[in-house]
C-alpha cells in the first residue's frame, strides 16, 4: 500500500504521513479491541484515503483535524457494569464516550497542552480521553493527566502505537472478564481475588486495553500439550 501521490512535501512528509497512518490504524484497532463502536471502513482506512483526508497542501499531516470519538458497544457496557449490590440495585456501566486527540506540538509537551486536553475532556463530558503526543510528556504533565477526578485520561506516544503489539505472535490473547464472569471464576476456584496472579496497570497490553485496577483478564495461550491454556490475571 505504498503512496503513489507525492504532493510536494517530499520524502520527509511522506514518511511522517505513513507513520501517522500506522498509528491511526492502531488507534482504531485499539478502540475496537476495547469494545467501542468502530466501522470497518474506519478500521481499514488505506494510506491514500488517509492522506486525502488529513494531509495539508504540503503533504504533512494536519494533526488538529485528527480527533476521534467513539461510543461503547452494548457488550462493552455489560463488561463495565458492576454487579448489583444492596446499595446499588441497578448499577450504571462505568464507561462512556471516548475521545482521542493528537497533540499538534512536536516538542516540549508540558502541563499547558495537558491542561487544554483535560479541559476538552471535562467540558464535552467524555468518559475517557486518550492523549497522543509525538514526544514524551513532562513528569508533572503525566501527574496532571491522571489527576482528573471522575474521568480517565490516558497517554500514548505516536511511536508506541506504530505497531499493534497485540497482533504479535508472542502476545497471547487477553480477554477482559465482566464482573459476573469474575465472580464465577472466583467461586469456581474458591479464590479471593488477591489470590490470583497479577498484572500491572502499566503493562503494555493492559495499557492497550485500558484496563483498570481490580479487573481480571483471561489470557489464552497456545499449548503444545493441551491445545489451549487459559490463565487469569488480576490487574493491580
Amino acid at each position: 500500500m505504498d503512496g503513489d501521490m507525492h504532493r510536494g512535501g517530499g520524502d520527509e512528509a511522506d514518511k511522517e504521513m505513513t507513520r501517522l497512518w500506522r498509528t491511526w490504524r492502531t488507534v482504531y484497532e485499539m478502540l475496537s479491541d476495547r469494545g467501542y463502536e468502530v466501522s470497518d471502513e474506519e478500521l481499514q482506512i488505506s494510506l491514500n484515503d488517509f492522506r486525502n483526508k488529513y494531509a495539508d497542501p504540503m503533504g504533512y499531516p494536519e494533526r488538529q483535524k485528527m480527533k476521534i470519538q467513539a461510543r461503547p458497544t452494548e457488550e462493552m457496557k455489560l463488561k463495565y457494569t458492576a454487579l448489583p449490590s444492596k446499595l446499588q440495585p441497578n448499577p450504571e456501566p462505568d464507561c462512556g464516550t471516548i475521545y482521542v486527540d493528537f497533540c499538534v506540538d512536536s516538542s516540549g509537551v508540558g502541563t499547558k497542552q495537558v491542561r487544554a486536553f483535560n479541559h476538552i475532556v471535562d467540558e464535552s463530558n467524555f468518559h475517557t480521553g486518550i492523549f497522543i503526543t509525538q514526544t514524551p510528556i513532562s513528569p508533572s504533565a503525566v501527574r496532571l493527566l491522571s489527576g482528573v477526578p471522575g474521568r480517565i485520561c490516558e497517554h500514548f506516544q505516536e511511536q508506541d502505537l506504530l505497531v499493534n503489539i497485540t497482533r504479535h505472535e508472542l502476545v497471547p490473547k487477553h480477554v477482559l472478564l465482566s464482573p459476573e464472569e469474575k465472580a464465577r471464576l472466583l467461586q469456581r476456584y474458591r479464590l479471593k481475588e488477591s489470590q490470583l496472579p497479577r498484572m500491572q496497570v502499566s503493562d503494555p497490553v493492559a495499557r492497550y486495553l485500558g484496563l483498570r485496577r481490580g479487573q481480571v483478564v483471561k489470557i489464552i495461550r497456545k499449548s503444545e500439550t493441551a491445545g489451549r491454556y487459559a490463565s487469569y490475571r488480576w490487574v493491580i
Partner: protein, 343 residues
C-alpha cells in the same frame, strides 16, 4: 465503642499534621478532621467485617491510610505549585538579578515542599514553555540548535569539530557536543544557571510528608544574590582573628582547646553528615536508648586451664583420632589385647 477510641487515637499520633501546618501556613487549613477520623459507623463496620480485628488494628490501618493520603495531598500540592510558579515573574521585563519582592516571596514559599527532583520537573516544565529554567527570570532559554543552524552562534561554544576536512556528514567535519544539548538549553545564561542551581542545592531530599514542622533548614531558602550579600557582610571579623592565630602562643592555646568531643563541633559534623539526631525529635516511635547496666564485678575473667584441656580437648564435641587412641589406651590398656585374641 468507647474503648475503641482510646488506642486508635494514640496510634494516630503522627508528625504529619504539624508538618502540614507549617507548609500550609498561608493557606486556610484543609478540613483535616473530615478524613482524619472516620465516623463511628465506619469504624464499627470495619470491625464487624473482620472478626479478629481489634480497635488497635483499626488504629494502625487508619494511620497508614492517613500517611498515604498525606502523601497524595503533598504531591498534588507540589503539582499545583509547579503550575502556579509558571506564571511568575508576571512582569516580562523583570531582572533576574533583582526580582521584585512579591515574586521572591511567592517563589520561596512555593519551593518549600519541593524536592530536588520536583524542582527538576519544574525546570523542564518552564523550558517547555520556552522560559529560562530559573524561576525568577522572564527571558527565553537559549536555543543551541537554532544558533548552530545559523552558523556562528553562541551555541557553537559548546560544540567542537574534529576529523579531516571534508569528512563527516555534509563534508563539514565531524562534530560533537561537549555539553548535552538539553543541559545547555535549560537556561538563558550561565548566571541564571548558577542562580537556579544554587536554589536546587538548598532543597531537602526528604519528601514533605516525612519532614518535621521544625525543620528550619528548608524554610528559609536563599537566592544567590541574597547569599552573596550576606557573605560580603561577614568577612570583617575574619582578618582580626587570623592575625591573632598567627602567633605561636595562640596556636598553643588553640591546641589546648582541642577536644575529642566538643558538642559544638560534633553538631556541625552531624549537620555535615546530614544526620541530625532523629531519635531526639518526636517521631512516630518513641525511642529511648537504655544502656545495659553492669557492675565492676561482672567483668569477664581470664580463661583458666581445666583438666580436660591438657590434651587439647575436643573440637566442638569431636575428639581427634590421635587423642582418642591415647585416651582409650590410658583408660583400658587390656582392651586391645582382647580384641586381637578374638580375631
Amino acid at each position: 465503642m468507647a474503648p475503641s477510641q482510646g488506642p486508635s487515637k494514640s496510634a494516630l499520633k503522627t508528625s504529619l499534621p504539624s508538618a502540614y501546618a507549617a507548609v500550609n501556613a498561608e493557606q486556610p487549613q484543609p478540613d483535616l478532621n473530615t478524613y482524619l477520623s472516620p465516623s463511628q459507623e465506619e469504624q464499627e463496620k470495619y470491625l464487624q467485617g473482620r472478626p479478629k480485628a481489634t480497635p488497635h488494628h483499626l488504629g494502625i490501618a487508619l494511620q497508614h491510610a492517613h500517611q498515604i493520603q498525606a502523601q497524595k495531598d503533598a504531591e498534588e500540592m507540589i503539582l499545583d505549585r509547579t503550575v502556579e510558579l509558571l506564571a511568575i515573574p508576571a512582569d516580562s521585563s523583570a531582572d533576574p538579578a533583582a526580582p521584585s519582592t512579591e515574586d521572591i516571596q511567592a517563589f520561596k514559599s512555593a519551593l518549600v515542599p519541593f524536592r530536588p527532583t520536583d524542582y527538576d520537573n519544574y525546570i523542564t516544565e518552564r523550558n517547555y514553555e520556552d522560559l529560562c529554567g530559573y524561576g525568577l527570570c522572564p527571558r527565553e532559554n537559549r536555543k543551541a540548535v537554532a544558533n548552530a543552524k545559523g552558523g556562528q552562534g553562541q551555541g557553537q561554544t559548546f560544540h567542537f569539530k574534529y576529523g579531516a576536512k571534508g569528512s563527516g556528514p555534509g563534508g563539514r567535519g565531524r562534530s560533537m557536543d561537549i555539553v548535552s544539548r538539553e543541559k545547555l538549553e535549560k537556561w538563558c545564561s550561565d548566571e541564571c544557571a548558577e542562580r537556579a542551581l544554587f536554589i536546587r542545592v538548598q532543597l531537602a531530599e526528604e519528601p514533605v510528608w516525612e519532614r518535621r514542622a521544625d525543620d528550619m533548614s528548608v524554610l528559609n531558602i536563599l537566592l544567590l544574590e541574597e547569599a552573596r550579600a550576606r557573605r560580603e557582610k561577614q568577612p570583617q571579623p575574619q582578618p582580626q582573628s587570623q592575625g591573632e592565630s598567627s602567633s605561636s602562643a595562640a596556636v598553643v592555646a588553640g591546641m589546648k582547646d582541642l577536644k575529642i568531643q566538643d558538642p559544638q563541633r560534633s553538631r556541625e559534623l552531624a549537620m555535615e553528615r546530614g544526620d541530625n539526631a532523629p531519635a531526639t525529635r518526636d517521631g512516630r516511635v518513641d525511642v529511648t536508648i537504655k544502656e545495659k547496666e553492669h557492675g565492676p564485678e561482672s567483668s569477664a575473667a581470664a580463661p583458666r586451664m581445666r583438666p580436660e584441656d591438657a590434651m587439647g580437648g575436643s573440637i566442638e564435641g569431636y575428639v581427634p583420632q590421635e587423642q582418642r587412641d591415647k585416651r582409650s589406651s590410658e583408660q583400658h590398656p587390656e582392651d586391645e589385647g582382647d580384641l586381637l585374641d578374638q580375631i
